[in-house]
Every structure is written in structure tokens, then in C-alpha cells.
Amino acid sequence: METFILIGITGIGLGALYFLVASGLSLIYGLMGVLNFAHGSFLTVGAFVGFWVASKMGFETSMPEFILAMLVGGLAAGLFALLIEQLLITRLYDRHIDQALVTVGVSLVVGAVLGGWFGNDLRMFPAPMWFLSAIDIGGAKIPADRVVYIATAVLLLVGNWALLKFTRIGLIIRAGVENRNMVNALGINVRRAFSTVFFLGGFSAGVGGVLVSVYSNGVSPLIAGTYLIYGFIVVVIGGMGSVPGSFLAAMMIGVIRQFANYYATGLGDFVVVILLAVVLLIRPQGLLGKVRA
């Protein structure tokens, strides 16, 4: 039973990481129609910046210090995302395929630059001691880091919900996801909402990047690739444009992957991929997605 709980919570922890990547992807596609392949780069940028901050503090960071590293990493990634949006995406307005292609280019360039500067090998990102301490849940000893991932993801989900429900920009985003042109026809510059969404997506990917690096015990430009693919899988299964959908799908996929891997190493990836194919063929708009016009 303890193994069951351990695997389950690890799965949810992994799902939390996927959600951090997926939430930004989902909103960006939902509102702007942009398939952002550069999202993995945001993750990597956040990871490297967070790594740098943590190294300046000696890695053995207390909780507030670690949170600081996460926030700085997220901020750096968010600003980078904003830069990409302003420089490249806005100039390709309504050319959705070209926008997607340009993000592919960005991901290649960023990966190459970071790989060129820092090398592609894993650079050790030791987790602070308190990360490794175990918390007793239902008889199983759960490593604290899983709790951190889940807590961060939940905070993000709640924060996202609050933003969408209570702020004007959130209202504009919600309306824009449904009908972008009409928002313009109401006198609102919907492009400002685009920039906000891109920044927020970058921020959450950056925060996710810091956590992913600790989870993977190191930073490397090569890690982002898997998380980007999983991010897309989560967004598609959860439903494009639906952040709660991504949360649900992310948790499901994290848990399923961990259980599958427990029975046979490597089975996890395979099962998730088949699950994606199956979901798409049965319900193309995903769990909570709206059929996009």
C-alpha cells in the first residue's frame, strides 16, 4: 500500500511539473492561436537563471531563498517570453503556421546558444537538504520535494483562476479565448492581452524549469525537450485554452506514467503516447476543451 501511495504522489508531483509547462501553452494557444514551440526554451532559461541564483547563495538554500531562486528564474523566463513575443510573434499577426514555425526556430537557437555557452552535459543542481527530508503520508515516506511541486502547481492554478475571474485583464483573456475579433470590436486592444499571456506563460514555465532541474538533479538545455512534448500532450488531452483541463490532464498523465514505469521501465512514455492518440481520436477537443472556431 505504501508503494502505491508513494508512486501515486510521485506521479502527482510529476504532473505538477507538467502543469507548470502546460498552463502557459494552453492559454497562449487558446487566446492567440499560437503553437508555442519555444516554451521549452522558457523552461530552460528559467532553469539556468534559477540555477545561477541558487549557486550564488551556495545551493544549500532555505525555503525562502529557494523560492527567491524560483521567482527570479520565472521572471527571467517571463521577460524573455515577452521579448520573443514583441520581436517576432506580433510581426506575424494572424499567420499562425508561420508563428508556430518561428517558435521552432527560437527553440533551436536558444538550445544552441545555451548548449554552446554551458555545454549540453548535466550541471549538478543539488537540491537543498530540506527537499530530501521525508514526510509521512498514510504510512508512506514522501520526499518533501514532491510536496513543493504540488504546492507550486496548486498555487499557480489558484493564481491563474483568480486572475481570470477577478481582474479586467483576466476578463479580456477569457473573452478573447472565445472570440478575439469581437473583443477588438468592443474597443479593447486585445494585443496587450497577448503580451500578458505570453509573459505569464513564460513565467510559469520558468518556475517549472527551476523545479524540473532540481528534480533532474541538474540543468541542461536538453531536458526541456521531453517536458515540452509532455506539455503539449497535457494541453491537447486537457483541452486547448482550458487551464483547469490542463491541470486535470497533467495529474492523470503524471500518475499513469509513474505506475506504468513501475511495472516496466520505459513503459510510461509509451502508454502516455498511446493515451494521447486514443483521446484525440475519440474526443479531439480534449477533456475540457471547447471546439475552437
Partner: protein, 340 residues
């Protein structure tokens, strides 16, 4: 007429020269080193063209094309190594397997479109990649792949001296691929592909079964990719999981966009250029003079993705037609100037 009247004869001449070069005496292509590079470049050129049939001509953005290429490589390798059939029959069987696989996967995936289609094809492609890597049934050799058993293939493919036969095989495969795709796109089916790219609804309204045409494009491109995979097996001497990587499909996308998605020769040039550029860039970084460049510039340049990625961004933003698009724009300007 956008096509320059001498372009076809010149192209024929070029092809003849390329074919004869290895035996024409002292020219760059008489050396095995360049022959090997060009052989690989031809294979990528052909692969890019098969991807162009899907994406450039029919408007199907697939992220799982590498799967069919890898199927060609692996099925041929396994059949040859286990002495099941003679080498050329193994290649043919691998094409058939790929076509069947594409038929099944295509029938399922093509019920979706757009981004969903891209994700479904990615899923199947990655599934294939994982199967190869995890060495299911102990057939695929896992992470390290399988070395081709040199005893089972004709001696004219072995040893450095005989590289020209690999070169010729690759050139032949590229030519065959080009011929098939030229024939398909010029046929009435080809016109439907182009119409599908622009407006699927309009095609449906004409009473045509769009599903069947899309599937046709899908299967043909997969079969040809498999042929090129079989040739790659001989050129590389082994089957490896990297052939099934999603990164391969991304590279194909780059090649097609760089060369020009709507023209056939554009895609081929894009593939050849990309392949050569990657190899040359790697050679460049080994040079002594390169090592003197400060690391913050030299580091990124050493990664092919940097230069190619920047070029790709530039092309998408400012020259969406790629190389061939630019060429035709210049042609148009030249023609209109002539008529003034």
C-alpha cells in the same frame, strides 16, 4: 512563363554530371570523402521532398514523419541481418511495411486536422521511437541500434573504395523519389492535394473524398521515406534510434521551409543544403583558427542548430517562400522588366 527555358536541360545536364563524376577522373567527387557526404545529402534531399509532399503540397503538418524513415532503416537491417531475404528484397519489404503502417496510422490520424493532427502524428512517431529505444522483442538493439552485417550485402557496397556505389544508390533513390513525386503532383490527384492545402471545404463541396486523397499523399510519402531509409542503412552501416527522433521531423520541416515549401526542387535543395551545412559546420569547429574565437560566440556557432535556426527564423519572417520563392520572385521581376 516563370520557368526559365533552359532550366530543364541544365538540370538534366547537372544530373548527368553528378552521376558520372565519380568516374570522370580528378574532380572533387572522385574522392570517397565527398562522395559519402553527398550520398547522405542526397538522402536528406529526398526525405525533405517526401515531407514536402505532405506539408508543402497537401498542407498536412506531420510531426511523426521520421517513423517511416526509421522503419525503412530498421526493417531492412533486421531482415538482412537475420538472413531472411536477399538485400534488395529486404528494402522492398521495408517499403511495403512502411506503406502499410502509414495506411493504418493515416486512416486513424487523418480523421483529425490542424494542430490535433500534428499532435497525433507526434504521438505515433514518438511511440515508434520509444519502441525502438526500449528494444522490445529484443529486435531493435535499443539505444545503440544494430550494426548492419556486412557479409549479407553485396561487396560493392563495402569498403571505402566502393563509396561511389553508395553515392550512386543515393542519387538513384533521390532521382526515383523526385520522379515519383513529380508524377504524383502533376497528376490530377496532385491538383487535389494542392486544393486541399488551400481550402479543404471547397474540395469536399466538389464531392471528392478528401480523406482518401490525404491518405494517398500520406502513404506515398511514407513509402518513399522508407526507400530512402533503406539506402541510409547502407550509407550509415547501421540502424540507430536517432533516425526515429522527433528532431528528424523538425529538421525536415526546416529543410522544406528553407528551400521553399511549394516547389519540389526547393525542398530537395533545402535538404541537401541542410545536410552539407551541418557536416561542414562540424568540420569548421575542428579547425585551429576556429578555436581562437571567444567562447561566447564560438560556442553557439559550433552547434548547427544555431546558424540554421537563425536562418530559419529569418526565412519565416522575411522570405516565407524560402530559396525557391526568392528565386521565382527574382524571375518574375526579370520577366516583367523584359516586357517593359
Amino acid at each position: 512563363m516563370l520557368r526559365w527555358k533552359y532550366s530543364r536541360p541544365l538540370f538534366g545536364l547537372l544530373l548527368a554530371l553528378l552521376a558520372l563524376a565519380p568516374i570522370l577522373g580528378a574532380n572533387p567527387l572522385s574522392r570517397p570523402g565527398l562522395q559519402q557526404t553527398m550520398a547522405v545529402a542526397f538522402i536528406w534531399g529526398g526525405l525533405a521532398l517526401t515531407y514536402d509532399l505532405l506539408f508543402g503540397f497537401t498542407g498536412l503538418l506531420s510531426f511523426g514523419h521520421a517513423l517511416y524513415f526509421a522503419t525503412g532503416v530498421y526493417v531492412s537491417c533486421i531482415l538482412i541481418n537475420h538472413d531472411v531475404v536477399v538485400w534488395w528484397l529486404a528494402a522492398l519489404i521495408s517499403i511495403a511495411v512502411s506503406a502499410l503502417l502509414a495506411l493504418l496510422i493515416g486512416a486513424a490520424s487523418l480523421r483529425t486536422s490542424g494542430i490535433t493532427f500534428a499532435m497525433v502524428t507526434l504521438a505515433f512517431g514518438e511511440a515508434g521511437h520509444v519502441i525502438i529505444q526500449r528494444n522490445f522483442f529484443n529486435l531493435t538493439g535499443g539505444e545503440n541500434g544494430i550494426a548492419l552485417n556486412a557479409d549479407r550485402i553485396p561487396s560493392f557496397f563495402i569498403s571505402v573504395v566502393n563509396t561511389k556505389f553508395i553515392y550512386w544508390a543515393a542519387l538513384a533513390a533521390l532521382t526515383l523519389t523526385y520522379a515519383v513525386i513529380w508524377w504524383v503532383t502533376e497528376s490530377s490527384a496532385g491538383r487535389v492535394f494542392a486544393a486541399l492545402r488551400d481550402n479543404e471545404l471547397r474540395v469536399q463541396v466538389l464531392g471528392l473524398n478528401t480523406q482518401r486523397y490525404k491518405l494517398l499523399a500520406f502513404v506515398i510519402s511514407a513509402a518513399l521515406a522508407s526507400l530512402l531509409g533503406a539506402v541510409m542503412l547502407i550509407a550509415a552501416g547501421s540502424a540507430a534510434p536517432r533516425f526515429a527522433d522527433a528532431g528528424v521531423t523538425i529538421s525536415l520541416l526546416l529543410m522544406v521551409v528553407l528551400g521553399g515549401a511549394v516547389t519540389r526542387w526547393g525542398a530537395v535543395i533545402g535538404g541537401i543544403f541542410y545536410s552539407i551545412a551541418t557536416t561542414r559546420l562540424q568540420d569548421l569547429t575542428q579547425q585551429e583558427s576556429f578555436k581562437t574565437i571567444p567562447k561566447w560566440i564560438g560556442g553557439p556557432i559550433a552547434e548547427p542548430a544555431f546558424v540554421l535556426g537563425l536562418l530559419f527564423i529569418f526565412v519565416v519572417m522575411f522570405a516565407p517562400g524560402g530559396l525557391s520563392g526568392a528565386y521565382y520572385r527574382l524571375r518574375l521581376r526579370a520577366i516583367t522588366k523584359k516586357s517593359q
